[in-house]
Symmetry: C2
Subunit: 318 residues, 2 copies
């Protein structure tokens, strides 16, 4: 297989938008959308760090897309397009490419997005970069700064499932049933970001961030000019994770400093709570109030009124 | 160094456009430009294939940018922004990052572009993906299809210099003087795409393509519905390359099938030649007529009226 036949057979069918020119040109050309800002984010997943060689390629593809869709959702953007940079090991097989592009096709359908371009090169280890584009009405992208004293702090979905799945892969002892085990592993392999909820947050959230490096680390991005206090007992955790790690503060701290959650943490005025709950319900996801915003800066974690020491806020690459 | 301090110290100073939010948010937000299409292209360079571990990091940065600016130029687009995905070896040094970002800064200044975002992850080998954005008036992106029988075929700059530089690295025997040697190595390390010429091609070129995989291979992209005939003796080659490889047809074939040129090959009506020459002069580059377009399809290479057999049109990754 050469590069051109790989593009024609596996990737061109994913590029149906006219802006992509069927992947037959040097570039894509996206028409202007007056009244909208184009929101762009990019993230890479690498073999050995974010996925394993034995992971199903379809799931690797979905993870690469979804870690980016998570950022768009946290910014209030409706996703539209993506570009793909693939570093693939020499000798990649047709089966691998078939499964990988099947995963892309599934998520394109689910999230209403389309491939616009990319490139493929050869390396020792696989790496997948996605650059995702979405839209918000001009000037309405949700920002990390903007939280105000008196706001409530919310998080979508459940926290720590992906870290639980990774721990199972790393052979940590557990007594989970099959459904619990599968739930945690699935969340590690394929994030489930609240994409449909993002646009609903515009006009409600005062600040918003994608939870990817650990809840506490990412809340730190909202807390440069305000103080955020999180009550650990309110942090939403799945039944499977609670069965795995228990409910002691140390277990919850582990969950909130682990990363790979791909949920949204945001702040909003308390009087908007019913509108937030309605937006979450419309998007088919859950939202939980986990803390409050006050004067000061930084994130404090409490358990029954006592401040907990957090040894390490989140994941670091270097 | 953690990821956040690397961003703050080395990359945030490159992101001065308001759309980047100082790299302090999850995404960039680019205002709509009514009347313009956003042209987007993306390309990865990898250590061992496109650069070597001992290459100066500033040059690696410039190469990563320029292979993308080359695509934008070939499409008639004026470059504006870029995103960066870096896979860096564990233990990357401050000196490496300083040199790398110095290279980016130099090219940002030269080409009037600005960093909007990116990500950094750790891997065994370095890889640099750039996604570059530029603008053309609505509907005017130069396409690969569009060449008409009777058009002339042109190429910018000189062809084969980069391949010559790579051959020197691979210790091919030569009797070049220092200036010739340096010229070829410089073209391998840092492409010099005709960025300022791209916009001048709009309204003149009937079809246009970036020459990156080998002149003949890339001309093939223009020749799906027309026949292109190239006279090898007209292909512009530098004095340094001619001193290295000579002027025999085999040497020219080697140059036109090698790749990494980052020039523009395009077609245009013969009566526009004086306007093309004027546009090239204004951009400070050279343009050479190398062939003609006729009915049929595919690329034919001739030498003094005889058809030459081309063993392999260009570079393939797999």
């Amino acid at each position: 297989m050469d590069e051109f036949s790989i593009i024609a057979e596996f990737f061109a069918p994913l590029a149906s938008d006219p802006a992509a020119f069927g992947l037959k040109d040097d570039a894509a050309a996206i028409p202007a959308r007056p009244g909208f800002d184009t929101v762009i984010t990019t993230d890479t997943i690498t073999q050995g760090t974010d996925f394993f060689a034995h992971d199903p390629p379809a799931m690797v593809a979905q993870k690469a897309l979804r870690v980016n869709l998570s950022d768009l959702a946290a910014k209030g953007a409706v996703p539209a397009f993506y570009f793909l940079n693939l570093v693939l090991p020499h000798g990649v097989t047709r089966d691998w490419l078939k499964s990988f592009t099947d995963g892309l096709a599934r998520d394109q359908h689910q999230f209403g997005i389309s491939l616009l371009g990319g490139d493929t090169s050869a390396g020792d280890l696989a790496a997948v970069s996605v650059t995702a584009l979405g839209y918000v009405p001009t000037g309405t992208m949700l920002r990390r700064n903007g939280a105000k004293a008196g706001d409530s702090v919310y998080v979508t979905g459940t926290i720590g499932d992906s870290a639980g799945g990774l721990a199972i892969f790393k052979r940590e002892n557990h007594a989970l049933n099959e459904a619990q085990r599968d739930h945690l592993i699935a969340r590690y392999r394929i994030p489930d970001p609240p994409v449909a909820f993002g646009a609903g947050l515009r006009g409600l959230a005062s600040a918003s961030v994608d939870v990817s490096d650990g809840l506490i680390a990412d809340l730190g991005h909202l807390a440069a000019q305000v103080a955020i206090t999180v009550d650990v007992e309110k942090v939403p955790r799945s039944d499977a994770l609670r069965a795995f790690w228990g409910d002691e503060p140390a277990a919850i701290i582990r969950a909130i400093t682990a990363g790979d959650d791909y949920q949204i943490a945001f702040t909003a005025q308390p009087q908007d709570e019913s509108r937030i709950v309605a937006a979450a319900k419309a998007a088919g996801i859950s939202v939980t109030a986990i803390g409050t915003v006050g004067a000061g800066q930084g994130v404090t974690v409490t358990h029954r009124g006592q401040i907990l020491a957090i040894p390490k806020a989140g994941y670091r690459h270097f």
